[in-house]
Amino acid sequence: MLDLRKGWVAATVALAMVVGACGSDDESSGGGGGGGNAKATATKGLVDAPDIKAMSSMGKGEGKVNLVAWAGYVEDGSTDPKVDWVSGFEKETGCQVNVKVGNTSDEMVTLMRSGKYDAVSASGDASLRLIAAGDVAPVNTDLISNYNDVFDGLKNKPWNSVEGKMYGIPHGRGANLLMWRSDKIKEDLDSWGAVFEKDSPYKGKITAYDSPIYIADAALYLKATQPDLKINSPYALDQKQFDAAIDLLKQQRGMVGEYWSDYTKAQAAFANGQTQVGTTWQVIANLLEADKVKVKTALPKEGATGWSDTWMISSKAKHPNCAYMWMNHIISPKANAQVAEWFGEAPSNRLSCAETAVKDHCKIFHADDEPYFDQVSYWTTPTKNCGDDRGAVCKDYSEWVQAWTEVKG
């Protein structure tokens, strides 16, 4: 929501540039030339990762751990007394948990750059950036006993691993859904056209996620509605595809009532009728229903963007042992089930499916339904390297940011 910390890290980066003549991370300079003609090995990452060692053995807990997390991932009972998977962890391990909620991946990257935090629940658009910048270290999965039970579909993915090295522990996955006020909009919606089409009847009551990564949502819609653009991955967009997506978003801007990045804002906007339809996270729908606001959600037929979050450990973590203990805890069957239900996503631990309060939670969220998740385009950092035979002509994230500034005006 209130993104204040950027400048701070900007300053850090600036200073590091000026003063730190040593140890700059420009080793990735090979990436430009090499990226385009990368030998297509299965595990070649989209970025070059600096050489950082993973922790080799676990020691005693340091007494506390500082986390950066999405809202709803680290709940200690203060939001809702029944929603708590932190207090038990604190008692068991003695690691006091301090959590900083990040509203967007941008914020999280900034926070992690500062070196003040031990671990982060990074989405795919942040994880690669963190890896490339050397802000996170590879994870020694042998130290995480619950890792064996993680769905194979989440291991060694392009956004959480580089050349076979895992850089994090999969937390879960889910999709960005379409939500609407069911008392104001009587029909069941099934298409993103409701928020994108020029003649949408919900003009002025639409909401969209306030982040450059939302460009991918527009690209996804165009993938279905304008097949001649030949959009494959909504994150690897060349000039033509990118321009089309931006045009769509500029058109949408006229229809948007409010953008949201802070989920309190989104919740309030839906509750008081300022917004009636738009992109959402399941947790927001849960909170609204708990407050007796009538909403419905759906995964539209064009597919959706989504996230597969990874717990990553900082390369400068001051409390690495507690961090590893936390990572093991959050993917333990019970805790993973709890967070998956609260947030509204599919758990990463297959044993969690037996622990969910709602028996079909895993079925509803397609936890081991790989074909379903093939429809979901997980957040990934757009890079110049298209990752296919087009080479290095795609739009990089800094260009996404500039375009997003233009869209919002």
């Binding site: 890290v9 540039m17 309030a268």
Partner: protein
């Protein structure tokens, strides 16, 4: 006092320059070296570039970022919007502040004056964030303002530029009232009596005597309303969809790692403020702070 201390004091007494340097060493040392120094380092980054292939900052000086800003229409729009609303807020606050300041300075009894000063200062103590959220509740679609205007068949501005202007005018109003009040208080009663004796009506006295004398104070207050609006980006996010300069600066640092562009854009408000401060000094505002 020991003789060592005595000796030091005598030396100090004999050497005014030494005294001066000691006095200035602390404050200036901090401000010039630490503050200005780090500002300089920060703005050096504005001349660097972001390599799109590696997404790393390349320390080669160039004007690329400034070119991007100059060519991009959206940056102009955002800068103009920020400066424009800052100006509008300043004018609004000056107008809103004047009556109450005049009342406090010239008409109120000392006791009422005291109470009014307290009343004007108290809103400053409540948290900025909470105040902005309260305004959200007032301005939102089914909010207090629309509810109040509905029977009249009108509706409020909702969120947007107007809302931002309203909220900022509200937030900085006490910072305009107090300097104007102080400025009006400084005007000796004798001048006003003289104006009356010479046959001036209150309106003329106001125009010819009071306004010119209080102008430096108004400018002093305006420094704060202008600079605070210029640098803010929290309120725009909460009560509008539009972007201020600060929002863009933020967005470019982070996953984008485009510190050079962010620093380049941040020079805009800094330059504007420095120019404004120089103008304000010329108008005598620094003596009326």
């Amino acid at each position: 006092m020991g003789s060592a201390a005595g000796a030091i004091e005598t030396t100090l007494w004999r050497r005014p320059r030494l005294r001066l340097s000691l006095l200035l060493a602390g404050p200036l040392g901090w401000l010039v070296v630490a503050y200005l120094g780090s500002l300089a380092v920060l703005f050096v980054a504005a001349f660097w570039q972001l390599d799109p292939f590696t997404a790393e900052v390349v320390r080669e000086p160039g004007l690329g970022n400034f070119r991007t800003l100059a060519e991009g229409e959206v940056y102009r729009t955002i800068a103009l919007r920020t400066i424009g609303i800052a100006a509008a807020v300043t004018v609004t606050d000056a107008i809103l502040a004047f009556p109450i300041a005049l009342y406090m300075a010239k008409i109120a009894t000392p006791r009422v004056r005291g109470l009014l000063v307290v009343a004007v200062l108290m809103p400053l103590w409540s948290s900025y964030l909470v105040k902005v959220y309260a305004w959200r509740t007032i301005l939102q679609e089914e909010g207090i303002l629309n509810w109040a205007l509905d029977p009249l068949g009108l509706s409020g501005p909702g969120f947007g530029n107007v809302a931002t202007w309203l909220v900022f005018s509200y937030l900085w109003l006490p910072y305009m009232i107090i300097p104007i009040y102080a400025g009006l208080e400084r005007i000796p009663q004798s001048l006003l009596d003289a104006s009356d004796d010479l046959g001036g009506r209150p309106g003329t006295t106001l125009r010819r005597v009071i306004l010119p004398l209080v102008l430096p104070a108004v400018v002093a207050g305006s420094i704060f309303t202008f600079s605070l609006t210029l640098g803010d980006y929290i309120a725009p996010q909460l009560v509008s969809n539009t972007q201020f300069i600060g929002n863009v600066v933020y967005q470019n640092v982070g996953v984008a790692n485009n510190l050079p562009l962010a620093a380049a854009f941040a020079t805009v408000p800094v330059v504007v403020m420095i120019v404004y401060l120089l103008l304000a000094r010329r108008l005598g505002a620094f003596d009326s702070l």
